[in-house]
């Protein structure tokens, strides 16, 4: 068991909106070890991005609020840190890559200016040192002739190249922990393949830990060791990648895997999950998945199931597993 780098304990994030309260993340707990790659999977609105932003303390307050829980990074609770301490943490120790490089990067500064900004602030490099380091970084992420691209603006890069720039910026201060929030979703499949390869090779080369957020099960199948599945603000399944794909224990995970059209065989009909995701303003009682679940029982309507170990290292939050335990 590698040393734990990040530990989420009962993280609950609530947004106070005019229409009422919305709990976007509800009692989520998991941990990521050093050098480990963790994939957080879920459909839109499941709370995966809010979880990532909570770790970086990027939830706007108001309307957002971390209601409960702890986020332990290297043993310290991130939630106890003040603004200055957070600034020292961000970029230097935890870095983040976002989905939309065009909106995450600044259009009025050159690539060199934006990347060296972090280097000069966090590492205290001189302008010239920072510039040299930026060239190294751009070369590292595979941008051809970095000396020439150094003074280009973001709009002069293609989508894939922009994502490389963002990765270069994230890696600039040698963080030990990288959060990638849907980094390949806006990209074409061939570009996605190169960016995924790049991220995995960087993780290996620099010995970082990774929290990878995506809706694409295909992507986590190849770039993560452990997987957490989120549905309607809850973590519903957690375990080793191979276990989850071979032996999914939560009906939602099973449904998700059955919904994906396959490349190797052509089925006449897919097996979708019935219904649609619940309205998070008025979530159903008990297990959030029960209105769509084929196995729903009375207890599912009453009680929120807790995440419990169903096999060594494999956790699921489903009442179906209580019955097994009771008998």
């Amino acid at each position: 068991m590698p040393e734990t780098v990040l530990e989420l304990d009962d993280l609950t994030v609530r947004f106070r909106l005019r229409r009422g309260d919305l709990t976007a993340v509800n009692g989520v707990s998991f941990s990521i070890g050093r050098g480990e790659t963790f994939g957080l999977v879920g459909e839109s609105g499941s709370g995966k991005s809010v979880t990532a932003r909570a770790i970086m303390r990027l939830i706007p307050d108001p309307p957002g609020e971390i209601q409960r829980g702890r986020i332990l990074f290297g043993g310290d609770n991130v939630l106890d840190k003040n603004a200055a301490e957070m600034r020292a943490l961000r970029g230097r120790h935890i870095a983040m890559v976002f989905q939309e490089p065009m909106s995450a990067l600044n259009p009025v500064f050159t690539v060199c200016e934006q990347i060296s900004d972090a280097l000069r602030t966090n590492l205290g490099l001189s302008k010239r040192e920072a510039r040299e380091r930026v060239v190294e970084l751009l070369a590292l992420v595979g941008i051809p002739s970095p000396q020439k691209r150094l003074d280009s603006y973001v709009h002069e890069f293609s989508g894939g190249m922009r994502q490389r720039v963002m990765l270069a910026m994230a890696l600039s201060c040698n963080p030990g922990f990288l959060i990638a929030d849907e980094p390949t979703t806006a990209l074409d499949v061939t570009i996605q393949a190169t960016i995924l390869e790049l991220i995995t090779s960087m993780i290996d080369k620099l010995g970082m830990s990774l929290l990878f957020i995506t809706h694409n099960l295909g992507v986590v199948a190849h770039s993560c060791d452990k997987i957490g599945v989120m549905y309607a603000s809850h973590l519903v399944e957690l375990g080793d990648k191979r276990e989850i794909f071979a032996n999914p224990q939560h009906p939602y995970t099973v449904g998700l895997l059955n919904s994906i059209p396959r490349l190797d065989i052509q089925a006449r009909h897919l097996t979708p999950i019935a219904g649609s995701v619940c309205n998070m303003m008025e979530p159903p009682s008990g297990c959030k998945f029960h209105p769509r679940c084929a196995h729903a029982m009375d207890v599912c309507r009453r009680e929120v199931p807790k995440l419990k170990e169903v096999a060594p290292g494999h956790h699921a939050a489903c009442h179906l597993h209580d019955r097994g335990a009771a008998t």
Binding site: L196, L263, Q266
Partner: protein
Amino acid sequence: MTAQGATDDMLLEVRGLTKHFMLHGDIYSKLAGEKTQVLKAVDGIDFHIRRGETLGLVGESGCGKSTTARLVTRLIEPTGGEVRLKDEDLLAFSPRRMKETRKDIQLVFQDPYSSLNPRKTIMHILSRPMEIHGLARSWNEKRERVLDLLHRVGLSVEHIDRYPHEFSGGQRQRIAIARALSVEPELVIGDEPVSALDVSIQAQILNLFRDLQEQFGLTYLFIAHDLSVIRHISDRVAVMYVGKIVETGPAAAIFEEPLHPYTKALLAAVPEADPAKPPPRLTLKGEVSTPIDPPPGCRLCGRCPRELPVCAEVEPPLVAVGGDRQVACHNL
């Protein structure tokens, strides 16, 4: 809906379809004597769709798939080529004749949030096409047909007087599909109709497309960038790269044994939801070539792992290779 002709089952035939956009620079570049650049969005493509069949058109962003959909429906006018519907050239039709013909070809767009008018009720959205094409006269008749459509796409009577914002993405796409079906079309063109949906909803909509095809004998031109979606829905597939069709043939054959280096690269790049499968990788060099003033020769030049000297000079034609397959490559 339409009796299937035993001899002539060709519904749509596209020949040499071309769309070039002229990129006129600003006045300074003109004064400097710079030549007008040409963006060859669609550059001479041929394909056909038989009645009751689904042709999947797949390619990466900017390859010309959506332009193809807009050309086939004459939402934009082609630079050249023919679009033959039931053996008549659409491009020669008068505006009046074209308006009547639009009934036979309907579109479903990618984003169900922007393709439905937020100020109209579902009743209005679904009955207006019927009025325009004179398919229903009395209010009762319209309402009956709208209810039937709602039922067929998995919605119910309670939804009829609601507005689009009251529906989820998947439900809105059901409404967009019902609208396409409201005029009893023969050909339905789906331009990335499931790309904006979550995977569990995407599966529902894909099943719906399948069921409606069986019920109404529809013919589909299905455009998507997701290869597993294309594999699932298509009988035949056409792969596009920078304005050209590089490979076409039966879906099973193309996915099991791709022949064109670009098709191979696309398939190798898909991350399959199975950790036991090989990881995605890119077998091509560099990035997608530009459609602006492309050099002569194959569009894949400079990226292809199997390049020959001839590739840079002569554009490979789409040639039959047996088994209803065609490939445009010099090095097979």
